[in-house]
Amino acid sequence: MLSRSPISKEETRETVEEILEAYPAKVAKKRSKHVIIRNPEEIDQEIAANERTTPGIITQRGCAYAGCKGVVVGPFGDCIHIVHGPIGCSYYAWMTRRNQYKTREDGRNWLNYSFSTDLQEEDIVFGGINKLKTAVREAYNIFDPKPKSITIHATCPVGLIGDDIQGAAKELTEELGLPVVAFNCEGYKGVSQSAGHHIANNGFFKHWIGTDTETEEIEGFTVNLMGEYNIGGDAWEIERVLEKCGIKTVATFSGDGTYDAATKAHLAKVNLVMCHRSINYMATMMETKYGVPWIKVNFIGIHAFAKSIRKVARFFDNPELTARVEEVLTEEIALAEAQLAEYRKRLEGKTVFLFVGGSRAHHYQELFADLGMKTIVAGYEFAHRDDYEGRQALPKIRVDADSRNIEELEVEPDPERYNPTRPPEVLEQLREEKVIGDYEGMMPDMGEDTLLVDNISHHELDVLIKRFKPDLIGSGIKDKYIIEKFGIPCKQLHSYDYGGPFAGFRGAVNFAKDVDLRVNGQAWKYIKAPWQK
């Protein structure tokens, strides 16, 4: 993965210049800090991130509501998620994230439903809080069985009109005898979805985590899968391999997640963090309060998977488990490699851009490397500097006006339930080895002269495509057909283009097939008519 970009340094520099020149001067200055040519020799190379998008820019980004309800909270299928606001926000977050959920024996599954207070003008004028309460009661009354929990998500106008949704949630929790949790994730909070993740983490941490006070222990090599949203069934493939190794998942945040599991999450021995961006708040808060350490993992790509699960084995440091893990890896890798070989022949050396979310632009570089493909430009849509530069950048991050408004919870070790799952000296050792509590970010994995572009805009994409002519671009739905109109195939890495799983070993093979059909698909050869050639 550390090989240099096949694009010359000069071409890359010119390209960056071309990109910046088009902007108004002030914007160019700002953007210049988000568009960085990777230089491995530069110690602690920096990149600006998690900053405002300039108005008028055609951006990939969404809002806090999307990050909170859409990404983190929505996947819990045995709860009812009510969106408090005009109808659109609930409508747009209805099944479009592809979080897969299996109905459990209790029959609870509201994933295919969309609930909203559908605020009308009079609600905006006179306040919507009573409508919200009525809506929650209606949701409770209509269904049997009852939901495990009801969540409330505020959209833009709610904050402005002053509806006290936290108060309402408290009142309804008591009235209905089930946790009603409110999230003030109005769309204007923060600068992207990222604010919503944080708000969601806070809400869960306050209201769900540790609320199972009866279960005292869960035996075995237990883990939580954090920041894994089970798009296309990723979580199931990961769990398949974990189970095969003898590792038990307690809770998943939040793909295929259930309320009951979430309330027991504090009993897992370690948190495995997939999407660092969206869930690191929870991981660190759980570590502080309950003593559950966290390991940054990447289950995307067969070698990444191996590396990650070995970290887990290292954590538990149990010879049987370690042996079992190696056995499973040998078997799974051999099988996957055999199937990948054919595809790799057709994909070797192809170039990729990656502009996705807050972790996939990094994770998928490892899978593309498995396929022999080079990621030459990459960037996140809504990550922070630590996702690029690693957590060592955290102290350097300036708290600005936009992040200041997102609550930072004060967390203390739980006087009764703080329970480190390994002896302190072992934890210290693991921390030193960077097995736990660390994430080094995307940057160290990018080769010389590759380009990092944070929060890419349409204009930048346009220039980069014309200049670098990649073989494939990993991006999202809004860019997909723009990219493809340039004659370049795009792989959606949010929705997976309705495919998947792509995690783990079987997922890698799925992915290889999927990439192959795009990169080598016959249809592209017909873009020009014979008489135009």
Binding site: P55, I58, Q60, I87, Y91, S116, E138, C156, D402, K528
Partner: protein, 457 residues
Amino acid sequence: MMLELTPKEIIERKALRINPAKTCQPIGAMYAALGIHGCLPHSHGSQGCCAYHRSHLTRHYKEPIMAATSSFTEGAAVFGGSANLRQAFTTMYKLYNPDVIAVNTTCLSETIGDDIPTIIREARESGIIPEGKTVIHANTPSYVGTHITGWSNMTEAMVKYLSEKTGTTKNQLNVIPGYVEPSDVRHLKQFLQTLGVESVVFPDTSDVVDTPQTGDFRMYPKGGTTVEALRSTGDSLYTLALGDASKAAAVALENKCQVPYKVLDLPVGIAACDRFVQAVIETTGIEPPESLMDERGKLVDLMTDWQQYLYGKRVALSGDPDQMVAVTEFLVSCGAKPVYVITGTVSPYFVTRCKEILKDWVPDAVIRDNADLFYLHQLIKNKPVDLLISNVYGKYIARAEDIPLVRYGWPILDRVGHSLFPSFGYRGSMHLLCNIINTILERKDRDDPDEVFELVL
């Protein structure tokens, strides 16, 4: 099982919307704006709105949907969004240089109370908006009406900002097609051409959201009604507003430029197409050519040939008011029985027209505006139907209740063809009807036991 928790018993809800049959205004405004040539729609609010609308339209069209946003943050929410909009103009003109910017508001900017006309005026005065560039706007608060209202408002804005009466009448009709597919608008233009009528069709999303793959992305595709054509609407003979959603613009045009108008149902189905042709005859005096009469006759032929598979079929319908009125009438003309017809939009037009159409043939039909799919599903649980016609969201009900589904209306996120093959006009109606018939036959084949499985139908 899919949607298993939906109970059969229907309880009237006062506050909770479940499985909506509508979304909010701004996306409709954005879609309408895409029907102006060289236009960049601009969403004045949080960037999430714009992201959602672009994503959603992209999923429906599998096409680039270009739009910008004012990217509100908390500061803008507190201090107002005028700085954001000014910055946005600057950025857009430097980066994307659109001929037209069409601004729509959102629930956020409406709740704040941003005064868009003033911001535009000041931006123009201060040179932020260059000479010769057009900026229009529509107020589209998400908490009023639906995506249909948003479309109406932006279409009305085209009239309010652009229509001009020069005093010299042009021998042309204005036709406002409604919130429909590019294939419908394309066919409508051909249809008018076949009738030999000059016209301005607006907004016109054909060749904008259904562009060819050429290996070359064009930010402003060749389609869309030009500003010049929009200006000329004030000089037209007559406006034909198709569907209730098109009425506001037609009324505005009469008020502003005294162009008389007729509101017609969408030309889907034999009767509605006939009325459209008749309206063209009445307003222009043309005679329908033989080729058009042939198409008409083929539609009738299809209806008589296949009536036995449609006759008496209980159909549930969900969609936007104008589409639902047209399809309801079309189904009745084919002998089918629309027993439940719902729309998410508040629409007296929808209720009145559907009642009129169904009063003799299905006197006990349930017709409800401001309704949702959860309610429709409950109706079906109480008494099943033979067919469901709905946008993509009907697929959950269809699966849960094992009902054949014809996808019709907006949005369709999981099938292909709606943007290519129209339902407008005699030909489009044939396409829709073939789809309905074949769906019914497919189900018949599936359900027929081996011994009655038919070769010929």
